[in-house]
Point group: C2
Chain length 495, copies 2
């Protein structure tokens, strides 16, 4: 293209309806023309005044673009002669002047080859796009969150904040929150610790992520419960860890003698309320597990999954307390008790590991959100967490009752309901011959979330059939109707 | 111990000054006495009425503790006869009745053996506990953040929030923010994308974490710049990745022919403003890098490190835009422009990878904070980000000027100052014979942060000596005095 052709081409290509400054558009078009070889080295660009007139834009815009292109080496200006496309061919190993070779290469998208871990995780994605309603498990009723109390504390903290709270968090998190958590967990969960062992986190995922990277090499074994929460499995897979699924029985995780001969580096358990089956780990099993960990030198990660919601009995003290915090990394969060999007949790780490754990968290995640942590400290110490939990315990107990009533009303005792009087879900057992994934898919079409129990198993051969039904985020009055819709789908598959 | 001895021992041990409910304390003491073998099976616990009297606590508290211990199998009650310690020895492989063997085992803390990656990261921790003041690099002036504007928008969003904003984030983040970012980055950084390619993140660490797990197997090679930010190196090490440090020259990353024969899976670069040396990657080098990535099938991660702060020249368009987003994952954040503790950033991912990238982020991190993302959307689209950047550009330019003046005033041209007119820091070069880490340590003692340049190198042999001096978070008026303090330390080492 010569100078006139460039001008005409630009008139054709400039799109005034396009958002963003004309400057950026003109820059991109000229850059493209040069890189694609349409304006070969030596081509004279139209004089700025003429181009501005023909494009009907400010001359200054054209001058700025030419200056930018000069700065970056696309063109060079010679005083009194004009602006010329520079020879950039020596910057390229491919010839650009003949067949627009670069342009061809540019157009070909690269082949997507994921890591082995990436492929495995992609094959077992678990996160749902819909996060509320019947019968989404593991999600509390966010509409009940005491927004006003929180906003009042938040406003006070934002009135004249200490700038230090806008910088990165110190390793372990805000000291005041760590202190408050040590007291809170000691009282409510019999966790034995001082505040130096408390690490503020964003939730259970982060705790497992840090623990695994701190303690496990790629290829090391980690035990998880079979069945268990898909998120932990995927997280461990993404680190190249060998995930060994150990079956649970009515007392909790139950490794065989053969399993025990190959000790893992880490054992992840949910002793308070097994997820998703809902039983409590027995004292006898707790003691055996702690002893095995001591003898084999491995660590236990206690995911204290919804221990706050128990109906009718006091929550069992933590495994961490029984162990006095020697071998157990305790993890919990406010994401289930307050709201999932809060992203505030905590780990209590054995003294011997605490400083490394805090440092690695700071190093990997560069945490911040100290104002949020400061607000959380007040919310906790002023007793709002406790009173919200007490209030919601009644709400959830009623919803649980309504769901059980709906189930019994429809099925009597023909289908088992699995799960202790705790948490935010129950499991409705299905006969072995039923394809629970198909039930789940059909339920979704009918507008009901009902996760298939077999989906929580690593080994398909061990999988029990059933539906994991959350009652946390569905109003009591809607439960009968929602369950009737679901039952229609289930009945179809039972027949 | 018999019943009376237990009662006396408890009187001795109960501590009323201890925080927390007496219930929890009594429970722990009895549990300990049983587990340690001090109360062997068959021991009768003191009657609840008597114990309550002797301990001067409510009888109901004692009854609750006994019930709890019964529930957990530590004791059993026989109506009319009393409460007896249960035989839990069958739960243990070790004998507990002779030498308090369990107690011994409990006391011995487990040996701490970290993963190889954990050890490497612990050996090169970079995060600082102090995050403000002269001459902390890479930190903006958080005291200048427009708190009131932000708080006003925040209040509006918290007035009657949609409960959906309290749940987990959908993969990729809040759609409105992704949309706003696509427009903003197109205009300000010539990033070529649509909103489906934009992933909301917490910052550069998360982008690298996800990219590496999605694309690299443990043992795969990733190129980083030599020198470069320690955080990225540690993050990659924690994933078991082989980190290859490629030297930079005045035009940016400069791989040798030998390097190029072993292509990496991913190349992490800072083309806008190399960190820490501060040069801009030349056009020629950009084109070569893109072409190499295309031919070798690897991905480029563009860390658009403080591209917003340039003094005197327009920022260069992104590498992503030059590539039209085929092979480049673009990453930036508001953590440097607004405040580090905000934890809001973004990745722009090639179309072919975008959905996997978003899914893996959701799966690994279970993101939330949608209200924060919603506030950020308004803050961005109402132009507050742009005006804050413009205002701070002047503030930082003045601070940069003051620091350069202080340096030249003291050293003239005897020590080189390295770095383009951009960013939040300069590098003060030191002669090869000076131990810059010792200078840094002595400066810290004098109250001045001055990171050693050699600390940013992977290979000690390549390390240049110098001090990385941030001027972002120190007031202009304090710069001369702070530099004078530092110069005294430097002079001592030069002599």
């Amino acid at each position: 293209m010569d100078s006139q052709a460039i001008s005409e081409w630009l008139q054709l290509k400039m799109d005034r309806r396009e958002e963003g400054p004309l400057y950026a558009q003109l820059y991109r078009l000229l850059q493209h023309a040069i890189l694609s070889g349409h304006c070969p080295p030596g081509t004279r660009l139209p004089p700025s005044r003429q181009l501005a007139q023909e494009l009907n834009i400010a001359r200054n815009t054209v001058i700025q673009v030419y200056e930018q292109l000069t700065l970056e080496g696309y063109v060079s200006s010679e005083v009194g002669r004009g602006t010329f496309v520079a020879d950039i061919s020596h910057d390229l190993a491919l010839p650009i002047d003949k067949e627009s070779a670069l342009s061809e290469v540019v157009r070909s998208a690269p082949p997507v080859r994921l890591s082995a871990a990436g492929e495995r995780v992609m094959a077992s994605l678990g996160h749902a796009e819909r996060q509320m309603g019947a019968f989404m498990p593991g999600v509390p009723d966010v509409s009940e969150f005491p927004v006003k109390q929180w906003a009042r504390i938040q406003n006070r903290h934002w009135r004249d904040p200490d700038p230090v709270l806008f910088t990165y968090a110190p390793a372990g998190g805000l000291p005041a929150l760590r202190e408050a958590l040590a007291g809170y967990l000691g009282n409510s969960r019999s966790v034995v610790c001082d505040s130096r062992q408390v690490i503020v986190t964003s939730g259970i995922h982060q705790v497992i992520d840090v623990a695994a990277r701190l303690l496990c090499n790629p290829g090391d074994r980690v035990w998880i419960e079979e069945p268990s929460y898909w998120g932990i499995r995927n997280l461990l897979l993404s680190l190249g860890i060998e995930v060994v699924a150990i079956p649970v029985d009515s007392e909790g995780i139950n490794p065989s003698a053969a399993d025990m001969e190959n000790p893992p580096r880490l054992i992840v358990v949910t002793p308070s309320h097994q997820y998703p089956l809902g039983m409590v780990m027995s004292l006898s099993r707790r003691l055996k597990l702690l002893e095995y960990a001591r003898l084999s030198g491995c660590w236990i990660l206690e995911d204290d999954y919804d221990s706050d919601f128990r109906y009718g009995s006091r929550p069992l003290p933590s495994l961490q307390g029984l162990d006095e915090g020697r071998q157990v990394i305790y993890a919990g969060s406010f994401n289930k008790t307050l709201f999932p999007g809060l992203r505030l949790g905590y780990a209590v780490v054995p003294g011997a590991l605490a400083s490394q754990f805090g440092s690695l968290t700071a190093e990997l995640f560069r945490e911040g959100q100290l104002l949020l942590q400061s607000i959380m400290t007040d919310f906790l110490t002023q007793g709002h967490v406790g009173s919200h939990i007490r209030r919601m315990r009644n709400v959830y107990a009623a919803r649980r009752g309504a769901l059980l009533q709906a189930i019994h009303g429809h099925y009597g005792d023909t289908l088992p309901v699995i799960g202790d009087k705790a948490g935010l879900h129950v499991v409705l057992g299905l006969p072995e011959h039923v394809d629970d994934m198909a039930v789940s898919a059909d339920a979704a079409k009918a507008g009901i979330m009902a996760r298939a129990l077999s989906n929580y198993y690593v080994n398909a051969d061990d999988a029990k059939k059933g539906l994991v039904l959350g009652y946390g985020c569905v109003r009591e009055s809607l439960i009968p109707r929602s369950f009737a819709t679901l039952a229609k789908v289930v009945d179809h598959h039972l027949a």
